[in-house]
Symmetry: C2
């Protein structure tokens, strides 16, 4: 019998014991933490870089946990990246605003993509990068931002999948939905 | 006469033209963007890593723009890092909550440091890392979090200084306060 308070995963030979947190009706879910763990971030990026869809020209992610991972993927692939925010920043110019259709925990969110950043997606083939894809709601919202910016989505990449998102996702590992 | 809509800076031989944005009564201020620019992030980290105060055991930063930079500093120095958030996350356990005493633009903020992350600062010598230090309000709030967590501050590191913060800060470059 496993301890429901933690879950051990191995990526690229590096083992990490993830804490788990209560998530409403789901019970306990594992909490992936790339922030604060550059070694774990780096091995995940090293495994993911080979899986970036062919023809991809730009990576798109969203703050916050996937940010160090996407930085590393950009560094290793040589592809530039763009990052959507979860609130409006005062410096944004003509941002694209996109509601996230549904969230695992019933919390609605809005994504903001600064106008000059949206320009970097225009006419480009864009791969969407996340740390964890669960319901797929954020991934769908990011894909919609790509389309609205005039780009095309080459695919979805995530370190972990937790559940059954409606789109095809390339992941390193599946996490149990609850423990 | 310079163009007030941009400012060119050079770090480690790499030149970047920063956009400028209107910032209330300040006029136009340069906008440092590490997110989306892994090459610029990496040269800044390479220059900063040699400047980490002696005896430092842990780095502390705050989301969002400084996150890729701090990840790289951690990677290059081998020091772990901890990151404060700007809002409460549902998974946080007994977080430390710290008001930012004042902000350049008159916006008050609250920093949240998850309890298990605060534990990583206890008894440790901690350097505070930011992308830009301006009024120093966020730096002071981070320092207070270190003290409340039972750590001691070894110093303040930032890629850029923009203004005259009240503490001694090690920076790569001073930016003009307005253009």
């Amino acid at each position: 019998m496993n301890n429901p308070n933690e879950l051990t995963v191995t990526i690229g030979g590096l083992e990490r014991t993830l804490p788990t947190v209560r998530a409403g009706n789901l019970g306990r879910v594992p909490l992936v933490e790339f922030i604060g763990d550059s070694e774990f971030t780096n091995v995940a990026a090293q495994e993911l870089v080979a899986l970036i869809p062919a023809q991809t020209e730009v990576l798109l992610t969203v703050v916050t946990n996937a940010l160090p991972l996407t930085h590393e993927l950009s560094d290793r692939s040589g592809l530039p990246y763009v990052c959507a925010r979860k609130k409006r920043r005062t410096y944004m110019q003509s941002p694209l605003i996109q509601e996230v259709p549904s969230m695992t925990l019933g919390v609605t969110e809005t994504l903001w993509l600064d106008g000059p950043h949206a320009e970097r997606l225009r006419g480009r083939r864009v791969a969407i990068v996340q740390d964890v894809i669960a319901s797929g709601g954020t991934a769908q919202a990011l894909a919609r931002l790509v389309e609205r910016a005039g780009g095309t989505v080459t695919g979805y990449l995530a370190a972990f999948r937790q559940g059954e998102p409606p789109m095809s996702v390339t992941v390193l590992q599946d996490l149990p939905r609850s423990l």
